[in-house]
Amino acid sequence: MRAIEVRDLVKVYGREVRALDGVSLDVEEGSVHALLGPNGAGKTTLIRVVTTQLRPNGGVARVFGYDVTRDSSMVRELIGYVPQEMSLWSDLSGYENMLIYSKIYGIPRDSRDKKIEELLDFMGLSDSSRRLVRTYSGGMIRRLEIAIALMHNPRLLILDEPTIGLDPRARSLVWDKISEFRKENGVTVFFATHYMDEADKYANYVTLLNQGRVVTHGAPSELKRLVEGNRVLITFKEHADNSKLSKIISSVPGVTIHSFNNDHVELVVDDVPTKLPTILEKIFANGYLVSEVKVREATLDEVFIKLTGRKITEEAGRIKEVVSVRKMIRRGG
């Protein structure tokens, strides 16, 4: 069963702006699927079509087989959604926000309080649940929003830029909670981001989007192979026997030799953290001495640059966006 199935989706704003220009993608049930691309790539538009907010101008989008325009109310029952902008009433407490949303979502009265308490506890917000959301940090706001999105046990969690504007610690806490919840409940996660490291680390499948079109898609490690993978450069203490060393190193699966010059060898390694120790052990076991090891891991950004000629993350744009999101949070619901 596919959680999301999108075919040739087109969305035009006004007459000119083709925000989505024939997008097709599949999100497998149980996966964590990232939609990665720069600002203006069409990520939010795609999410808004899938969450039944916008009608597409062409193509189809289905969620667990239900068409997002024809069966929109069925789709809304199945999804939990966190928009990019803050979706809480900042002049109510964290608990009150959960209570109101639980009633809007029709959570049965007898299980409501227990559910709210459980989720607040799970997200580490129990102690601050009586405080007004206005006093929350960005990370707390996101965790509360995710808790609200999970209240009705959705089969698909859709997050639009879930960690935008958060500092690294708050970002990883948000992701820890999502991963922990997934382990217990197996919910499918579909998220948009322009942080390539986030897509790489937390998603098991990535769709790269640029100017309303899918650039490519695949598992992060697969995509990184498009840019010749992760490089490891090993320098030996003294001039080494090329052919013998080549044989030793090549015997490790997933490792290929890119070049070998006098005292240093450059390797392409598919999974550096697990393969590098094996490589080094074999080198030491054969009596060679190593003076330096350099690792340069491939990034999805490089994949994106190779395929589109532009970077995913443009710093100026990002800072502007972060500032405006912060302003929005401060201004409140």
């Binding site: 009265r109 009705h152 201004r331 619901g333």
Partner: protein, 253 residues
């Protein structure tokens, strides 16, 4: 399931009451103007006896001042939706399983509850300076329900304007332009008979006139002859909410 959806409608009103409890500031500042209308305008006009046909003037304008204050709050309520459009709340509500009509009706109820706080404040102020208002609880409760009905219509109108204009500046401009004419071209401060013909016709198309009229019958003349007013107000409210429901989708596009 449908029973639970009714609860989701009521939860919007609950949300509004909880917000009011955390921050009653708007209600208090909004009460300044009607109190001045009663204490200053009402007592000065009463002394010059400008409209002898209406009896005690402060008593006469009390229902009008209640409506002035609460329609202003209702008509301004749409600004909340514009803020919620800029934040993610509306997106969240529109992707939740409840029908979109419930969002509009629920918010209209919420807005009218916020507005109806003026009922108590104005009635109390009027009583202090000796206005002769009915003390029959049934009349007072019926008056309150008429007010809620009318304010739901005005809030619906406000949601409709918010969905169409989408920005705070344009919304505030329009609301500023329609509230005062709505108030003056009604029977809130003077009887319809004294108006020039053009304004008379306008006031007969003004839902505020029928609300004030029903309220005056209930609270001043102790009469339950309000069927006509209630029917007209119901049509206004249903129409305003109906069009607001149709327009809601536009607000997030």
């Amino acid at each position: 399931m449908h029973f639970m959806k009714l609860e989701s409608l009521a939860s919007m009103a609950e949300m509004e009451l909880r917000r009011l409890r955390h921050d009653p500031f708007e209600i208090l500042t909004r009460a300044v103007q009607p109190i001045l209308w009663i204490f200053v305008f009402g007592s000065v006009m009463a002394r010059i006896r400008a409209f002898p046909s209406v009896g005690d003037y402060v008593t006469f304008i009390t229902p009008g001042v209640i409506l002035q204050s609460s329609t202003f709050i209702s008509l301004a309520y749409g600004i909340a939706l514009i803020f919620e459009r800029e934040s993610g709340i509306l997106k969240k509500l529109l992707t939740s399983p409840i029908p979109r009509s419930y969002i509009v009706v629920g918010r209209a109820l919420a807005g009218s509850i916020r507005a109806s706080t003026q009922y108590v404040i104005v009635l109390a102020s009027a009583a202090i300076i000796g206005a002769r208002i009915s003390s029959n609880p049934l009349n007072l409760i019926t008056g309150y329900l008429v007010l809620i009905l009318a304010c739901m219509g005005f809030t619906g109108l406000s949601i409709l304007i918010a969905s169409s204009l989408k920005t705070r500046e344009r919304f505030m401009g329009i609301i500023g332009a329609i509230t005062m004419p709505l108030f003056f071209a009604s029977n809130a401060l003077y009887p319809i008979e004294v108006m020039p013909d053009v304004i008379k016709y306008f006031s007969l198309a003004n839902p505020l006139t029928y609300t004030v009229s029903a309220m005056r019958k209930l609270l001043v003349s102790n009469s339950y002859d309000i069927l006509q007013e209630t029917l007209i107000l119901s049509c206004f409210t249903v129409l305003a909410l109906g069009v607001a429901i149709k327009s809601l989708k536009r607000i997030i596009e």
